[in-house]
Each structure stands twice: as structure tokens, then as C-alpha cells.
Symmetry: C7
Subunit: 84 residues, 7 copies
């Protein structure tokens, strides 16, 4: 598949930019991607984690986190749930 951006190549292009992560179950977060490994475990900085509560989504600010790759469902480069 010459010329096509393979999935992990797309992730590599996101290094240093904002990435919206939708996890299995209904957890979501947004952060700046610093690095990732072959299992798509990720280091993210300047993170906002959206907790789903009966009163709606509550945002928590976190400096940096490490995310377990096998819990990820969807990655959305350059966007955030707040974009509406």
C-alpha cells in the first residue's frame, strides 16, 4: 500500500499535536501526543479527561498520563469532544 498512510504512520504524524481518544466503555480524553509504542500505549500531555456522571460530562485536567493501548477504541487527530 505505497503512498497510503498506514494506521501507525498516522499516529506518528500526530506526535506533538492534539489527539482525542475514545476508549472502550464511554471514557474519553484529549491531550497532546508525546510518544507511543508498538502496542499503541501512549504518553499524552496537557490532558483533559471527561468523566461521564449522572449530571453530565465532568472535565479533569492532568499534566501528563500514560494510556493502555488495548483500551482504545477510536483516535481522532486534531479534534476534541468540546468541538461539538
Amino acid at each position: 500500500m505505497a503512498g497510503r498512510l498506514l494506521p501507525l504512520e498516522l499516529v506518528d504524524k500526530c506526535i506533538g499535536s492534539r489527539l482525542w481518544v475514545i476508549m472502550k466503555g464511554d471514557q474519553e480524553l484529549v491531550g497532546t501526543l508525546k510518544s507511543f509504542d508498538d502496542y499503541v500505549n501512549m504518553v499524552l500531555e496537557d490532558v483533559t479527561e471527561y468523566e461521564v456522571t449522572p449530571e453530565g460530562k465532568v472535565a479533569h485536567k492532568l499534566d501528563h498520563i500514560l494510556l493502555n493501548g488495548n483500551n482504545i477504541a477510536i483516535l481522532v487527530p486534531g479534534r476534541s469532544p468540546d468541538d461539538g
Copy 2:
């Protein structure tokens, strides 16, 4: 199985065209398939994600996404949930 289109060969034929993805659980989305890897992780563009809410399906537009292959149940080439 000469002459038969193997599953990943079908996916390869979908590159550049619309693909409806039904995931385990009740999440669904439609997008243009840009690339995929051996684990059927996918890069999709011009995506509409259908969120199931008590008020019915809500559509969200996303430029491009990366989808975790192990969360996929069914792929429907050339169709969308809106086709009814």
C-alpha cells in the same frame, strides 16, 4: 480458494470508498477507508459517527480517525445506516 476474494482482499478493494463499520457494543460509523494494517486497524476520512442516546442516534462529523481493529464486528462496503 483461487478466484475467491479473501476477507482482507475485500477490505483492500474498499480503499478510497465508503465503508460502514458496526462495532462490538452498539457503536457505528461510516467513512472513506484510507488504509488498514494486518490487525485491520483502519484510517478513515470524512467520518460520521453515530452515537446511541436515549433520544435516538446522534451523528457527529469527524475529519479523519484511526479505528482499533479488535473492536470491529461487521464491515459493510458502500452502505450507511442512513440508507434505511
Copy 3:
């Protein structure tokens, strides 16, 4: 086990004929089997997918689909849920 039809040999014999697929959870569909791979990912054509809704089973017609093998519980060659 000479003379016995091994499971994947049975699947191979179903190529070109109708196959009822019962998935983990309560999703079911019927289609004509076009091909499959070692993980029993399947390409099916002329598919009817049965969605379980509070009002009962709703049938959706799909031209062709790719089905993730690890989500399959039971395959029933030559039959369909409509056979009653």
C-alpha cells in the same frame, strides 16, 4: 480423523450457499458465504441482518459484508431464523 469433515472443511463446503450466523450476544444474520480466512473472518453476500429491538426482530438487507470471526458463536449451514 480420516473420513470426518473437520470444522473448517465444513465451512469450505458452505462456500456459495446460505449460512445462518449466530454471534456472541444476540446478533444474527444470514447470507451467502463467498470466502473466509484462517481466523474464520467471512465475506458474505445477499445478507439479511436481524436487529433485536424492543418491538422484536427487524431485518436489514445488505449487499455484502465482512464479518469478524472472533465474534461468531454458531454457524448453521443452509438454514435461517425465518425457517421457524
Copy 4:
């Protein structure tokens, strides 16, 4: 473990006879075992599948099926849920 019937040897001895299969979750079925592979995927004939409904167990007759081995919890040679 000379002299002891290993699990897959017991399954092999069941070829041609009735086998009650209790699956993870509450699905059950009974059928004549025709063949199986290393993953204990099974081909069964003359099958009765017991669907658990609010009104109790409903039996469905199926000619032959292929059963995904990783969904099996317990195998009971020579018996059936109807034995009471």
C-alpha cells in the same frame, strides 16, 4: 498420565454420540458430535438448541451446525437438559 483419558481423548471418544454443550452465558444445545479440531471447534448434527426466553426454554431443531470452541464452558457426553 498413562491410562488416564485426557480431555481431548474424551471428546474423541464422543464422536458419533450425543453431546450436551453448555456455553458461556446461558446458551445450551445437544447434538451428535461429527468432528472437532484442536481449538475444540465442533461439527454437530441432529441438533436441538435451547433458547432461554422469559417464557422458559424454547427448543429449536437444526440439521447440522459448527460451534466456536472458545465459547464452550462444559461438555456432558451422553446426556441432555431434557433428562431433568
Copy 5:
């Protein structure tokens, strides 16, 4: 770990004696262990299976069964749920 009975060595010592099996979810059974393999799939005889129903535990007698090892949570040699 010389002198210590490793887990599978303990299972081997249970061959021929009563074994209480507590499975993931709330299924339980007791039986005489006849054999097991590397995946701790087990052949058990003279089995009592305890079904959890709204009216309490219902015991079913089974001659012999084959149990899928990956569904086991706890093994209790020489005991049974009826010991109280």
C-alpha cells in the same frame, strides 16, 4: 522452588479425588477428577453441578463432564459447597 508443590502438581495430586470447582461468574460444581491437560481442561466424574436460580441453588447430577479450563476461577481439593 524445590520442595514446594507447584499449582499443576497440586492438581495432579487431586486425580481420583473430589474437587470443588468455582467458575468465573457464579457457576460451581463438584466431581472426581479423572484427568487434565496443560490448559487445565478437566475430565470430572460423578459430578454435581449447582445452578443458581431465584429460588436458590439447584443441584444436577452428571456422570462425567469435560470442563473448559479458561473458565475456572478457584479449585478447592477435597471440599464441596455442601460442607457449609
Copy 6:
């Protein structure tokens, strides 16, 4: 990581002493660790298993058990749920 006690080294140091095991789901038990293998399957003696019931936690005494490693979430050396 010279000088640091690796996880399985910590488990090895627990041989012969009391170990509180918190499993995935809400099952808990305490016992004396006799042995373990590479999959952290464990042999425990003098065990108290805490069953969560609508009326609160009910303790069951068991002589010795074999515990499936892949069901363990947390190990707490030298402590028990009764420590409060």
C-alpha cells in the same frame, strides 16, 4: 533495575506468609501462599474466602485452594480485609 524487587520477586518473598488477594469483579480471599507459577496461578492454604451477599460479606474457611492467576487484580502481602 538492580536493587529493585521485581513483581514476581515480591510474590516469591510472600511464600509462607499471609496474602490478601483482590480478584477482578468483587471476590476477595486471604490465605498463606504455598507456591505459584509463571502465570501467577497460586496454591494457598488456611484460606478465608469473602463472599459478597446482599446481607454483607460472608466468610468461608477452606483448607487449601488453587487460584487462577488471570483472575487476580491486586495482591496485598501481610494484610486482610478484616484489618479494616
Copy 7:
């Protein structure tokens, strides 16, 4: 990815400092990281485990624990749920 801190390198940098662990499901705990292995099984000391109860979060103090890596969703270096 020269110059970028890979996920396990970030974990290594956390040795000796406080780490907030968010697990799959809603279990959370905070502790000082003592060591970890390739599966990100972790030894933590001076631990506070937050149990989610109908009355809100209840904190339990534990000297040291071993945590099963495959149950981890998110690691937050240097922070705790009490930071609000």
C-alpha cells in the same frame, strides 16, 4: 523516535515517586512506584485504594501491593484523585 520518552521509559522515570492508577472498571489507587516488569505488573508502596460505594469513595491504606498490569487503563504520574 529519538528524544521522545517512550511509554515504559516514562513509567521507569516514575520509580520512587507517586503514581495515580486508574483501572478498567472504576477502581482507582495511588502509591509510590517501587518496580514494574514487561507486562507493567507493578509493586507500589504507601498505597491508598479508593473503593466506590453508594455513599461515595472510601479510602483504604495499604503498605505495599502488587498490581496486575492487564487491569490498568490510565497512569497519572505525580497526581492523585484527591487533588480535585
